[in-house]
Amino acid sequence: MSTASTATRFGSEFRAICGAEHVVEDPELHPRNILGIAPAFAVTPGSADEVVGVLRFANEHGLVVVPAGGFTQQHSGNLPPQVDVLLHTTRLTEVEHYDAADLTIGIGAGCTVAQLASKVAVDRLFFPGDPPLQERCTIGGMLATGLYGPHRHGYGSPRDYCIGVRFVTGDARKAKGGGRVVKNVAGYDMMKLLIGSQGTLGIITSASFKLFPAPRQTRTFLSEFASAGEALAFRNRMLHSPLDPICLELISPEARALLTLEGISCASWSILVRAAGSDAVVARYHAELGSAVSREVEGRQEHDLWQAVSDFPHTVGERHPRSLLFSMTLPLADVQPVLDGVAMVAQSNSFTLATIGRVGVGHLLVAMRPEPHAEVTLVNFVNAASGLRNRLPRDASVAVLHCPAEARHHVPAWGPMPTDLASMRAVKLALDPKDILNRGRFLF
């Protein structure tokens, strides 16, 4: 896309596909960029067919397309070598089906998580997706990035409650997987491939979900411990007990300070246990957890507390732009050794650590920021990232969700993964052979 005349020609093509008012040609006019790289065009298709049109054209002309929802995660991933077209999904918001009696809904990818949640709340139903910034985060973005929050413990991840998906492949084929029923094994499970694919296989245009009955009430029990080890021993007790909370979250002292959780001292490690159910169920938690609990929270305060925990990744970037944020998945027994290893890495590079995690399922979010007054340079960022990677056990995987601009060129966004890379590449080639979707930002 070298000359002004080709650019003009492309612009008129996109206007023909999406309508003039849904194409922005001058990068100056749209403030959105991808890790500092401004796209030449921003298009907002109004249907899956228009997405097909845009992608077909992009394939023909070798244009790199970046799908975008609520822009809550566009700061992650590797630096793209090229961004030609920013494709907004925000007009894809149609409700395809809503069957309250069946506890299912199918909705456009551009709908936000908060919109979906409030839509079904009217019928006392519950959508468990709780990624950061739910007012902005779209369904398509949540699925493409595989994001989840504290509800992961009790309700699983999107891979467990997404039952159908419609999408357009990188090579512009409109397709679907799954359907709108809660049990369905016909055909390949396309949902699994698209969830967490970071927008590199196809553009999700809509998705169907299982819903859950809204809990009658919830209450959060906060327990405090002198060390991470004691907190994890408490986790193990929880995992071996009959209790089945909807959230089980570890919060380090520094993370608590960062989240400015009201009225809680910042000296200790905490575990938050969120129970859902009747009075009798909540009373049982009270009895079982006993003296380990220092505080119980419910109502508005509880809601705000969990919102803050969900938003932790965002808060880190907002408060401390010069920080690294790692998201790790790992086997349960590796949580303790990884926390120890990470502490050493942080210390030797003059970083302060703030950690939260769904420690009952093996997901950690670790933020490293320069210690106050410490001379932290690029070398420290690079060493911290590689040091953390080197300490990861077998079967763990890691992504860098936030990286200061100064280190982006030197800190790869994706770490070791247990899954065979060549097989993943074969999948990418099958669906996006010209590599037009999010080129360079993910694995290949």
Binding site: D99, R159, V181, F212, D244, G277, R284
Partner: protein
């Protein structure tokens, strides 16, 4: 290369006693629990992943079709070989490789029998959640291939929700790993994609599964209804009341009487239908939900709601449910089981439609199914010695599945598409949907050496939608 030469190679790879090729031996591997048959050329019993890899390498080099086989309990023809092909039978790779209590995982070989895993870890207070009715025989490798379910998938999900890693032999013979012991990983979810790919992407040789903690309390209720319609309405009412049972099964009057005559599970002989409802979890929650379920049943005109008082009573109620297929064998020479799914609110309507189809084709159709998630198993009785009966059974089955699709449902909830439903795929999926899936298959299995003729319609079927009855080349006699 001739079949005899291939067999020689197979013997070199797996051992002299690990290959069958005499017609009377391979005949035992020509069928599964469905209705189709096809005789393989050879059956090989590998003992290691490396042997599986060598077998795949050999088969790919001579373009000989291969299918992996567990216990052959599948109902969709997934484990049936193409005529003259190689069956890789996993009965000698049936060990538990590791039980990792701390990480709540087990690593098993594909030939491991489903129930044996739960029995093996029972003393630790753990179990493996997917529980197909054939769990005493079916293998975890087969469960992975077909993404099998069972009664308790209502609360706990199907096999894919319980597998976190697989070791896979690709058609090239290469051994690769997808996932591991972590619940999820960054990167494409190849594990999730592999589970349910019906043996068309690769062959699993080791499987990492989740082990769940046994619930503190289990309540098993039997709701007894005068009519199928009342029972069906109750299913929707339970869902709408915000109760998620661990299992919610329905048996119609004809089916429960057939079962009762066979195994004396304690089902009432004069009922129109029963619901078998199980709740599990924290004691307090289970008691409240059991009471709520009882109330909903009674509001929906249940004649009576019984609750199993002892573990023995509970086991007996489940024995009736899980041995239903054996019971049917006593009353009909053949039966054809379907696996359609409808949105749960459509259960009363679909059952009325099944009644209509039974009359139209003059067939007996029993109903025993996973009502809680709308997963039907109409049991169509016929006598395969009379070709017109088979034709009618297949036509009836197609009509039921098409109704399911038109109601927003699916053609399979847990049995897989396999051979039997592949020509219905174009009703459920567009040509381009299938084209995308086929391009993924071709990325791994481009020569279609691995489990050909499964899952996807034959090329002409992409355009024309015809019934399975028109393509029954592999249907032979008997079961």
């Amino acid at each position: 290369m001739s079949l005899a030469q291939v067999v020689d190679h197979l013997r070199n790879i797996a051992g002299r006693d690990a290959v069958l090729d005499r017609p009377e031996d391979v005949m035992l591997y020509e069928y599964d629990a469905g209705i189709r048959k096809s005789t393989p050329g050879a059956v090989v019993f590998p003992q290691t992943t490396e042997q599986v890899s060598e077998i795949m390498r050999l088969a790919s080099s001579v373009h000989m079709p291969v299918v992996a086989r567990g216990a052959g309990t599948g109902l969709s023809g997934g484990a049936i070989s193409q005529k003259g092909g190689i069956v890789i039978a996993f009965s000698r790779m049936n060990r538990i490789l590791e039980v990792d209590v701390e990480n709540q995982r087990a690593v098993v070989q594909p030939g491991m029998v489903n129930l044996q895993l739960s029995e093996h870890v029972s003393h630790l207070g753990l179990y493996f959640a997917p529980d197909p009715s054939s769990q005493k025989a079916c293998t975890i490798g087969g469960n992975v291939a077909e993404n099998s379910g069972g009664p308790h998938t209502l609360m706990y999900g199907v096999t894919v929700n319980h597998v976190t890693g697989v070791e896979v032999v690709l058609p090239s013979g290469e051994i690769v790993h997808f996932g591991g012991k972590a619940a999820e990983s960054y990167g494409y979810d190849m594990t999730g994609f592999f589970v349910g790919s019906e043996g068309t992407i690769g062959i699993a040789t080791a499987i990492t599964v989740k082990l769940l903690r046994k619930p503190e309390k289990v309540a098993t209720l039997l709701g007894i209804f005068e009519s199928v319609d009342d029972a069906a309405q109750t299913v929707s009412a339970i869902t709408a009341a915000g109760i998620t049972p661990a299992a919610l099964e329905m048996l119609d009057g004809w089916t429960l009487r057939t079962i009762e005559a066979y195994c004396h599970a304690g089902y009432p002989l004069d009922a129109g239908a029963v619901l078998l409802i199980e709740l599990d979890g924290l004691r307090e929650a289970v008691e409240e939900q059991a009471e709520a379920v009882r109330e909903v049943c009674l509001q929906q005109k249940a004649r009576e709601v019984r609750r199993a008082k002892t573990e023995e009573e509970r086991a007996l109620l489940w024995k009736g449910r899980k041995t239903a297929f054996g019971a049917l064998g006593r009353v009909s020479p053949s039966y054809y089981t379907q696996d359609g799914v409808v949105p749960r609110s459509q259960i009363p309507a679909v059952l009325r439609h099944i009644g209509y189809v039974a009359k139209k084709y003059n067939l007996i159709i029993g109903n025993i199914f996973h009502a809680g998630d709308g997963n039907l198993h109409p049991l169509i009785l016929f006598d395969i010695r009379f070709p017109d009966q088979l034709e009618r059974a297949l036509a009836a089955s197609k009509e039921i599945l098409e109704w399911c699709i038109s109601a927003g449902g699916s053609i399979t909830g847990e049995h897989g598409v396999g051979m039997e439903k592949r020509d219905l795929m174009p009703v459920l999926f567009t040509e381009q949907d299938l084209d995308v899936m086929i391009s993924l298959r071709n990325a791994f299995n481009g020569d279609d050496v691995l489990n050909p003729q499964k899952l996807f319609p034959t090329p002409r079927m992409c355009r024309e939608i015809t019934g399975p009855a028109q393509n029954p080349v592999l249907v032979q006699e008997g079961m």
